[in-house]
């Protein structure tokens, strides 16, 4: 019987669910002129949620509902950043939604539900919770992608996302059922104990492969990346930014829970299945790096370019994961956080530069940006160099840590592959900077920053943070390390 303690442990999630319902009702009853209030209220709701996560954080790790939910350092970091980034996304999205008459209420409520899904997923202690969180997240996301009903591109993206997502979900579920069959348990810790205690057998290995397929799909790692470019391009940019940043934290959390808690790692002395999945993850990493970086070079659409760049960044995240120890997990988590922040700024730039009837989507639309608004050109320059991993920007240190983690685990070849693809990736990021700074603006396309002051300010803070965190990343990294008990 669940007691009050269980509810308290789940307080942030419970609060957000209730708040989302209230927001939905509020939106339904407010007059059209007053809907702006929903916007600021939902930002507030998320910030309060982040506060609840931090303030109620226990020392060490506690579980609720018989081990279904885990509240530990890992879930704390991932929850806080998903909530903060989602709040930032709301601020970016406001002028975009307003100009396109996309309904406020649905967008905010669905996004908050998706965020609750992220929180369940990263706090999962059993296969059931993983699946629950994942479905809450993805079902909300399917609807979000289709939010712009009049756009054919949007509908197409939503269908593609839904069909492939359902397929991946099925794969994951199939894998989970095999694991259940082999270990007779749904609880991740119990599964771990069962694997370590006995001879593992073929059924388990098959289960593992299917689970990795599910994770690969969620991360967007090659060869399960096919949905990424189309969904990114087709979704309203306000939704792309959510899929492209906050969701990556969820994917990392899911990978960590399933692979490490469930299937065992090396550092604890109990090897579990880690030697098996290490190599699979390494192969996915190299494929993602290769496909993401090489295909990005030929893109002319900025959103597609960022989509392929995401694929390559997920490759780097996996490079850290290959380490299969706390050092590697903390490096990967740091990478996920740094990527989520950077990618929020990158898509935020597209949102800020777009306006009614004009999507700033083609790379050529940025031509001569430095002459029109040098400040935003400079912000974009910071974002691009951070994505490319050029020091002293934030992105570099994430790369440094994952390469180091791979070398720690003896995967020198993987680190070298990561380095080589960083050089190839550099080319297309530089191309964006080139277009902004060195080219003459196109006649007719007046790229201007939006008139919404809040989103301009937050974007500037977000981009400047990439520079500041390049110097002051130590506390964040220490937080990630503490989460894994390093």
């Amino acid at each position: 019987m669940p007691g009050i303690n269980d509810i308290l442990i789940l307080l942030p999630e419970a609060y957000l669910t209730v708040a989302a319902c209230v927001l939905l009702m509020l939106d339904a009853f407010l007059k059209p002129g007053q809907k702006g209030a929903v916007h600021w209220l939902s930002v507030l709701v998320l910030l309060v949620g982040a506060y609840l996560v931090v303030s109620g954080q226990p020392d060490g790790s506690v579980t609720a509902f018989g081990g279904m939910f885990v509240r530990d350092g890992v879930s704390e970091v991932l929850k806080v950043f998903s909530l903060l980034i989602t709040a930032v996304i709301f601020i970016y999205a406001k002028p975009y939604l307003k100009e396109r008459a996309i309904p406020f209420g649905e967008f905010y409520t669905l996004t908050i539900f998706a965020t609750v899904g992220i929180m369940f997923l990263v706090a999962a202690g059993s296969l059931v919770t993983v699946y629950l969180g994942l479905e809450l997240l993805t079902l909300s996301s399917y609807a979000l992608v289709a939010l712009n009903r009049d756009s054919r591109l949007s509908s197409e993206a939503a269908i593609k996302y839904f069909v492939l997502g359902a397929l991946a979900s099925g794969m994951l579920l199939y894998g989970m059922s095999m694991i259940y069959g082999a270990t007779h348990s749904l609880d991740l810790h119990a599964i771990h104990a069962a694997i370590v205690g006995t001879e593992w057998h073929t059924l388990l290995l098959f289960g593992l492969v299917f689970v990795i397929v599910g994770i690969g799909f969620k991360l967007g790692a090659a060869p399960f990346h096919m949905w990424i470019p189309d969904v990114y391009q087709g979704s309203p940019t306000a939704v792309t930014i959510f899929i492209g940043s906050a969701q990556k934290l969820a994917a990392f959390g899911m990978a960590y829970r399933l692979l490490s808690t469930g299937m065992g790692d090396i550092a604890g002395g109990t090897s579990g299945l880690a030697p098996q999945w290490q190599l699979m993850i390494a192969v996915l990493a190299v494929l993602s790096l290769a496909i993401g970086n090489l295909v990005a070079i030929v893109q002319t659409n900025l959103k597609r370019l960022l989509a392929y760049s995401t694929i390559s960044h997920m490759g780097y995240l996996l490079v850290g994961l290959v380490n299969a120890g706390p050092e590697g997990y903390s490096a990967s988590m740091f990478y996920a956080v740094s990527y989520a922040l950077t990618s929020a700024a990158a898509f935020g730039m597209i949102l800020v530069l777009s306006r009614a009837g004009f999507e700033c989507e083609e790379i050529d639309d940025l031509k001569g940006l430095n002459q029109r608004s040098p400040w935003f050109a400079f912000m974009m320059l910071l974002v691009m160099f951070s994505l490319a991993g050029v020091p002293p920007l934030f992105g570099f240190f994430g790369k440094l840590l994952v390469l180091k983690a791979a070398m720690d685990a003896g995967f020198l070849w993987l680190a070298i592959a990561g380095a080589v693809f960083a050089i190839i990736g550099l080319y297309y990021y530089l191309r964006v900077v080139k277009v902004m700074y060195f080219d003459q603006p196109n006649e007719g396309t007046e790229v201007r920053a939006t008139s919404d002051a809040a989103s301009r300010w937050v974007l500037s803070i977000n981009a400047i943070a990439l520079l500041v965190l390049g110097f002051a990343w130590s506390p964040l990294f220490a937080w990630c390390q503490r989460a894994f008990g390093v």
């Binding site: 430095n370 040098p374 570099f396 180091k404 680190a415 380095a419 050089i423 080139k434 130590s474 390093v486």
Partner: protein, 503 residues
């Protein structure tokens, strides 16, 4: 105060770039004056190094250190020895002249140009101060960003190609260096301090891999044959100030990297592959000299001559191994190393001056083709002597700083192997040939191009700039003693380290 002198040197120009940017497009005059003020203040602060630094000891001094990333053992630690001090003062000195040189020339967004130059200056000083390998790497890479922008916005017609090539080429080299550094980090048991890395025992195989990882990073920067091809492109397309900084300071960072990383950390591999570097250096000296001979573009000619002159730097550094380990002649090794250092500083002045001269001509006629000129001395009588002086220095005339370094390196290599000295000495002939031939075609003869008749002579600002370069070239040519003294003890320590084998 003196404790934080190095930090001040790094951050003063970087922070100074902010008011320059804020002064904005509306008030270019104000932006220019602020940037000049910042550059002069940085130069003054760098001169304060001379009394603060004890040249006789030759150790790392003015140490600053604080824990940057405690969990990984990464420190923000700075220190300088004589070699760094000399290079830092060169940097701050050249920077003033670059700002002065760009005064009226850069009309398109001067505030951005000046700000980028100041950030670049801060990063370069950071490279010369860093004693933590990761901090070094951060500065080493960070300086690419302002340079990328400088060439890309204010450069010539093919600037985009040149700047992408520049960035990708140099990034390519350094990322393998990064892998090498992470590997060493493991070996030291969790420290990025260069001094700790130097103490780690390594097998010859490990050293060889690390040596080539470092070589990629630094050889591209120097640049050495065959990875030099980005340099002529970058130089030709860069604005005058960009070329000056590139040649005068950025190329030195490659040579400096060899000293800081390759020599102390992988001494045995360095000895093992010294022949390779020496051969590549000789190819640079001789073959690239011939390539320079046929150039029709003045900037390209000087760019190739830079590669040839930097060949002397790598030759001087690596000949020291032959001398210490095989010939057992540490005095000659010291001479060679010393010569390489003097050559670095002197080439800073000479190449900076040559590019400034070409810039002066280009501003007037908008051409860098030698064939478009001729008889310039008739219309620019004040400019011509400067041009001749720098050309003479470039070809290594005794009495100019160009002679001192080359002579020392040739002398040292003679002790190692007379054949090496013979090939190296070719530069005196080829260098004289290409520079003097250029002078002849540009300055002397009759005026054939009617546009040349309309040229105006240098103004006060340009005279100041060229005189400052000329002073550097002459002072160190006639009296190199202070420079040699500044670096002597540090070089001696380096040479002592060469003798210690790790295997």
């Amino acid at each position: 105060m003196s404790n934080h002198l190095l930090s001040l040197l790094i951050w003063l120009p970087v922070v100074g770039a902010i008011p320059v940017l804020l002064a904005g497009a509306g008030r270019p005059g104000l932006a220019r004056w602020i940037s000049l003020l910042v550059a002069v203040a940085t130069f003054a602060a760098s001169l304060a190094l001379l009394p603060a630094y004890d040249a006789a000891a030759g150790t790392m001094q003015l140490t600053e250190s604080f824990n940057w990333i405690p969990s990984l053992g990464i420190h923000y630690s700075l220190a300088v020895d004589g070699i760094s001090v000399a290079l830092i003062i060169l940097t701050t000195f050249v920077q003033i002249l670059v700002i002065v040189g760009a005064w009226e020339v850069i009309q398109n967004r001067p505030h951005q140009y000046m700000a980028a130059m100041l950030v670049l200056e801060g990063c370069m000083i950071g490279v010369f101060c860093a004693t933590d390998a990761l901090l070094f790497y951060v500065f080493f890479e960070a300086m690419l960003i302002p340079m990328f922008v400088i060439i890309g916005i204010w450069g010539g017609p093919r600037r985009v190609y040149a700047t992408l090539k520049f960035f990708i080429y140099t990034f390519f080299g350094s990322i393998f260096m990064l892998i090498g550094l992470i590997y060493l980090y493991h070996k030291t048991g969790g420290s990025f301090a260069i001094a700790d890395m130097a103490k780690v025992p390594l097998t010859l195989t490990e050293q060889s891999w690390l040596f080539f990882a470092f070589l990629l990073g630094f050889a591209i920067k120097v640049p050495m044959v065959p990875v030099h091809t980005w340099l002529p492109d970058a130089h030709v397309e860069a604005p005058t100030g960009g070329s000056v900084v590139l040649a005068a300071v950025m190329l030195k960072i490659g040579g400096y990297g060899f000293l800081r990383f390759s020599l102390p950390i992988v001494p045995d591999a360095s000895e093992h592959y010294a022949w390779l570097i020496i051969v590549l250096s000789l190819i640079a000296v001789c073959y690239i000299g011939y390539v320079a001979l046929v150039q029709g573009d003045m900037k390209k000619l000087v760019a190739y001559s830079s590669i040839a002159h930097m060949g002397f730097v790598t030759l001087g550094i690596f000949i020291a191994f032959m001398l210490v380990r095989e010939a057992n002649n540490p005095d000659a090794a010291r001479l060679g190393m010393q010569g390489a250092m003097v050559q670095m500083i002197s080439h800073g002045f000479i190449s900076g001056a040559m590019f400034s001269c070409i810039g002066v001509l280009y501003d007037r006629l908008h051409s860098r083709q030698i064939k478009d000129y001729g008889g310039v001395i008739n219309v620019m009588p004040i400019f011509a002597p400067f041009y001749v002086l720098f050309a003479m220095a470039n070809s290594g005339l005794p009495g100019t700083s160009g002679f001192v370094g080359e002579f020392m390196v040739i002398l040292a290599s003679f002790s190692a192997n007379p054949w090496i000295a013979l090939f190296a000495a070719f530069t005196l002939i080829i260098g004289a040939a290409y520079t003097l031939w250029m002078v002849k075609r540009v300055l002397w003869g009759d005026i054939t191009n009617p546009h040349v008749k309309e040229l105006t002579d240098v103004n006060g600002r340009e005279i100041f700039m060229l005189s400052a370069f000329a002073a550097g070239v002459l002072v160190f040519g006639i009296w190199p003693e202070p420079l040699v003294h500044l670096m002597d003890a540090s070089v001696a320590r380096l040479v002592e380290q060469l003798a210690i084998t790790k295997v």
